[in-house]
Symmetry: C2
Subunit: 383 residues, 2 copies
């Protein structure tokens, strides 16, 4: 039995039979989140291209595509390969790929699907152009720094100049611009968030307009996250939005996005009740991330997560609470994007039953070297 077969065999079984710690996805809440986002985009010129870095899971991505997404956004070549293998053809890697091992796999991927990748330097586009050779044509988005100050070129002429260079290089095809307003997406005050996003989108679309006047029209203008999808998605000139966390949600985004429900929990088992006010469960730092704060115990009632060590959750419990070894505790993660890849799979549950098992197939080190040929014809049937 392979690892994958082993996990898939839990489909149809009671949630109580699961190994812990495990990821649980609430099927109904997930469906409602996907529907809520689809409703927003149903009457906008911009389209949704959900970021799969939040779940690294092709089964979930396929649901997003079924709900109307035009394709997906990925952060790594491995994520993109998992998506391509599942049949999704329209893929943006919203990141610079420079390492030669990954560049080689990127070129292979570009030869079998409609792939776009971000760039922000002359050196990177030379590398990509050389690697592409006659093997493939790589779609290119020039990344514009819209205020986050991570990657990306300054808006305006510097970005346009790189776009012109891209258009001149063999093996590359200029497709447009992207800019991620990562400095805005988490601002708690909705007004400040919207203002910061609009300033960022003005910088991005101003650059697009400059390139158009230079005879270089951008087919794709990609931006936005879960915190800003509504502002970015309604901004004139933006063609697609990269929101990803809306599907599973977490404590961090729950503060700013009430229209989506937390659909991801971590199931754990109590392993010790060493004192009347303390219990210990088996989910720790190796199954729950903490860089955005400590997760929250949501079930059963009367349990508060105080601390995590590597394989332990330290819980404060009321003295009268009879929680003991073998009982289950569920946590909401503070950050889904970094919690999910600590696990091999997600168990999709409803009413105490495992409905489906989804492998985290974009996880680091999950896939063999060569991307499997995607199923079906090359055309973008992923819509």
């Amino acid at each position: 039995m392979t690892v994958q077969e082993q996990f898939l065999s839990f489909a149809g079984k009671p949630q109580a039979s699961l190994p812990t710690p495990s990821l649980l996805v609430d099927e109904k809440r997930l469906a409602e989140n996907l529907e809520c986002m689809a409703r927003f985009f149903s009457d906008k010129p911009a389209k949704l291209r959900p970021h799969v870095k939040s779940h690294k899971c092709s089964a979930l991505a396929l649901r997003q595509v079924q709900a109307g997404a035009i394709g997906v956004t990925a952060a790594t070549v491995e994520e993109a390969e998992a998506m391509a293998t599942s049949g999704i053809r329209d893929i943006l890697i919203a990141n610079q790929v420079v390492n030669p091992f990954w560049v080689d796999r990127l070129v292979t991927l570009a030869s079998v699907c409609d792939l776009k990748v971000a760039v922000d330097s002359e050196r990177t586009i030379s590398l990509l152009s050389q690697a592409a050779g006659g093997r493939a044509e790589i779609g290119i988005l020039v990344e514009v720094n819209v205020g986050m100050d991570r990657c990306g070129l300054p808006p305006g002429e510097t970005s346009c100049a790189l776009a012109r260079r891209v258009a001149s290089l063999r093996g590359l095809r200029f497709r447009g611009f992207m800019g991620y307003e990562g400095h805005a997406v988490g601002l708690e005050d909705g007004m400040s968030r919207a203002e910061a996003c609009k300033r960022a989108m003005s910088l991005l679309t101003g650059t697009v307009e400059m390139a158009r006047r230079q005879g270089l029209p951008a087919e794709i203008v990609s931006a936005g996250g879960t915190g800003t999808y509504d502002v970015a998605g309604a901004f004139p000139g933006v063609t697609e939005v990269q929101a990803g966390s809306y599907a599973l949600m977490d404590l961090q985004y729950r503060r700013v996005r009430k229209e989506f429900q937390p659909a991801l929990r971590i199931l754990s088992t109590v392993i010790s009740r060493p004192s009347p006010t303390r219990a210990v469960a088996d989910a720790g730092l190796k199954s729950l991330s903490t860089e955005f704060g400590i997760p929250e115990a949501v079930a059963p009632p009367g349990v508060r997560l105080q601390d995590l060590s590597e394989e332990h959750s330290i819980l404060e419990v009321d003295e009268e609470n009879r929680l003991g070894p073998g009982d289950r505790v569920e946590f909401l993660p503070s950050h889904s994007c970094t919690t999910v890849p600590l696990h091999p799979c997600m168990f999709v549950v409803q009413e105490g039953l495992v409905r489906e098992v989804w492998m985290i197939d974009g996880r680091r080190g999950f896939r063999p070297q060569s991307c499997e040929a995607p199923r079906g014809p090359r055309a973008s049937e992923g819509r």
Copy 2:
């Protein structure tokens, strides 16, 4: 080609050919760390049982056993299974195992190797006894709370009472006591650390002595970590020490343990140089843990790690530094134990060459359900 074959194929190749981010193990430093620890234990009555939670890697554990360790300590059943499959037979799971899925696998494991597991409650030993049935005899260490206040029973009669119950239950075999002085191992002041460790060891060995007077001699008295191995390992009555981090080391332990050298680095590739004083590399929170602080950029000189996002390291660089896309940057992790399982394998390097590739085979979700039958005879040839 399987994932494992793909990674193993890097053996013999230049370090420059590796995908990034990747784990690098300095072969010479690792060997020196193992030797340094072996030297300490060569004239002590206590033995070394290294904790594999720090690396989850059977290839590294085998080196520790070759260097004189009597067996290994594990935190999870998956880690223990990886060790058993590699031929290591003397295994302690220094944690409570309660979840029925894992208890079942624990019993399977106990039927093929010399397995011990920690317990601290009546409910847990009943569960284990029932699960063992006629299938196996599970070795049991009663966990004593020696001051860390996580799991474990109070020292003295409460712990002895559970030991007596263990001795009375079918399918279980009382082997001794364990106590982990996790509150002491990280204390920066060596004197305070030694004092805290001695107080903890007194509580543990006092309990052992009480049980002996009750006619229940403990064959195993297990304790200690990298911060306290010398004190715990020389304390009368302690039979084995669970230190693990000494092999790979990290920033946290470098502050308190100068005799071991940092042997683990994370290799990354610069993907962007967006400003004269800023560069961005491809190792982020999904390949470097931060709960013990931010990692340190150690090569090339003149580079300082400022921040991490999911797939990006934000570097401060000197203006005259020509670091750009494609160049490599190496980091020391702040906490090896939580950084290693973010990766599928470690590349053992020396002088720019990949000497060996070691899978992180105790990683969550790496192994199929049934533990492969260990190689060779059942006797503890793992010494």
